[in-house]
Symmetry: C2
Subunit: 363 residues, 2 copies
């Protein structure tokens, strides 16, 4: 078995790849086919360091193969800690040379949102599959450019909405899809934390900061996955209790969504308070998760008396394994680029509604 | 003891009345002083029949002494069932003669909201204390007329917000007042039920129908009692999925409130869905009630692990006994007319915001 695996790995080919080739999988992708995908993390901040790197120790379908960082100090530290090959370490200038590195199959963009478009496009142009953290980008136009770059290069693009991979969340997505409690009528959802920082990029809207980009997309994404619909209109307000800090970005945003079925959502997000709940009113009952967005401990209840507390070892590992498997098998991603793009279209409408002080139709 | 009570009752005077007289309680009220107050219900619909009349069998400080109804058939049925004296039965025309009836101390107005002002003023002019169901009236001006009529006649005016008397609700009001979880930051609250009726007064705004007047005042009142503050501004929308029924009144209203401390509220109300929860985000934790507005079974939880499930035998009995005792002792009512008036001022702003499609400051 070891020999067979070794052979397949050296040949750059696996059973799944053969199957994929038979169904028309491209030569480009075929050449890259492996049993486990090599992932390069771009941007080594808190989320890469404390969440993704440890998760990549647990994944079955992918592993940490490289890093991209602007900090030589971080490069050295990560190389030692994760036993990375020198040739798999890039900085932002030489990053495009990753095209020639067969160890790297996936580039995971974990940079501030203002840099998502650039690095997604560069990674796609280098022939690498892309995983991109939320929010996908600052504008819908940027999202479209990212989707086009990936499609044009025949690579997959997944957005890091890990909650959609989480089992309790899958359960309530199923309730909506199967109408377990009848039609969804109203969603109340709130995602936020108290951010004591005053000069981080999360306080700068031009960098993709502010509550709506950071935590608001969780509220918005939840309203969308609970209903399974795209909102038609939004009415939003931005507020702050710390105007000296939130001069550009929103500290708090409240927004109301209207869906085609008549379902409504009352949503909140903030960098000024800790809040984390999702409550769904349906025709024949209710269900809730609290917290609905956390690195662990997602739990909830329903009007039928069900307790929701399915557990998985690691959310990020689940997300990356799901996405790696979809690439290996050339099947549909659970959360493709289009999913991030749909959210950002709504975020644009939310910003416009808050600016204009009135209801905005979502194009 | 029986002899003493009997004497005091015959003399129309009790220990509390003596104390009240010593502190300047009016001669008019002094003459009415009893150990238990006689209550006349005005309007014998579902709420009087199924909730208030049974509750008045349980009250200690008041009892059902009379009725006011436009239906001779109901008058006869109630007289038999509750063993009422013929002289304590009024219709809407001869109602003002209640002024001469010493059996009646309190008139409880349980009519559709459009009639609250008229019957409150008539009851006050008859020298009777008034309990008035929510919503207090259709406009703030009507509320002011009611408050003035009661003040001018030196009678008390209580609004039937029974939840403020409910012990789990009192508990969370205490959390806000005592800052048990720090400052209140965000309230999510939703109150609604599916109303299958199509031509009831609850579907007519001119009668005080619509979700906001009916159930929305529970959401609004909760946002106010949780914060202990008056909102400064509101942004609201009205929606319907049954436009053929909700031609005038709102089927569903979503509204966002801003409070002076910076606290915010995301509120919902509807006659198109069953929903009933109150979730409070505070600086140092959260607490919730679900249901927060029901005739029984109010329960909840907090981020400290507390379970809230204090029980009382009957909410309406508690409310009426509290209010009767405040009248007997001439102490402050828990929910005076001003409390209903403050809500209706906000309801007016909500209607205006929904009509104008923009944020409205609350005067």
């Amino acid at each position: 078995m070891i020999h067979r695996r070794k052979f397949l790995k050296q040949a750059g080919i696996g059973a799944a790849a053969v199957a994929a080739a038979a169904t028309g999988f491209t030569q480009l992708n075929l050449q890259k086919k492996k049993e486990r995908l090599g992932v390069a993390l771009v941007g080594l901040g808190y989320y890469s360091t404390d969440l993704l790197a440890p998760a990549l120790q647990l994944t079955k379908n992918c592993y940490l193969a490289g890093i991209v960082t602007g900090s030589p100090e971080k490069a050295e530290r990560w190389q030692k800690k994760h036993n990375l090959s020198s040739k798999n370490i890039y900085n932002y200038e030489n990053f495009d040379r990753i095209a020639d590195n067969p160890d790297i199959d996936v580039v995971y963009v974990v940079l501030p949102p203002a840099l998502h478009r650039e690095f997604t496009v560069r990674a796609a142009n280098a022939g690498k599959h892309v995983w991109c953290e939320k929010p996908m980008a600052l504008t819908a136009a940027e999202c479209e450019a990212m989707i086009q770059a990936c499609a044009g290069n025949k690579v997959k693009l997944a957005i890091g909405y890990r909650m959609q991979h989480e089992p309790n969340t899958r359960e309530i997505i199923g309730y909506g899809r199967d109408k377990t409690f009848g039609k969804v009528k109203l969603i109340s959802v709130a995602a936020g934390y108290f951010d004591g920082r005053t000069d981080h990029w999360k306080q700068k809207r031009s960098m993709g900061g502010g509550a709506m980009f950071d935590m608001g997309v969780y509220s918005l994404n939840a309203a969308r996955y609970v209903t399974g619909e795209e909102p038609l209109a939004v009415l939003a307000q931005e507020m702050t209790t710390r105007p000296e800090i939130y001069t550009q970005a929103d500290e708090t945003t409240l927004f109301q969504l209207e869906f085609p079925s008549g379902a409504l959502a009352n949503c909140a997000t903030s960098l000024g308070m800790n809040m984390n709940y999702l409550h769904v009113t349906a025709e024949e009952g209710w269900y809730r998760l609290e917290p609905f967005q956390a690195y662990s401990g997602i739990q909830g209840a329903t009007s039928k008396g069900t307790t929701l507390n399915l557990k998985i070892p690691n959310q990020q590992a689940k997300q990356m394994d799901d996405d790696a498997l979809a690439i290996l098998n050339n099947t549909a991603l659970l959360v493709p680029g289009e999913e991030g793009w749909r959210d950002i279209k709504v975020v644009e409408a939310i910003h416009r509604s808050a600016t204009e002080g009135k209801r905005v139709l979502i194009g």
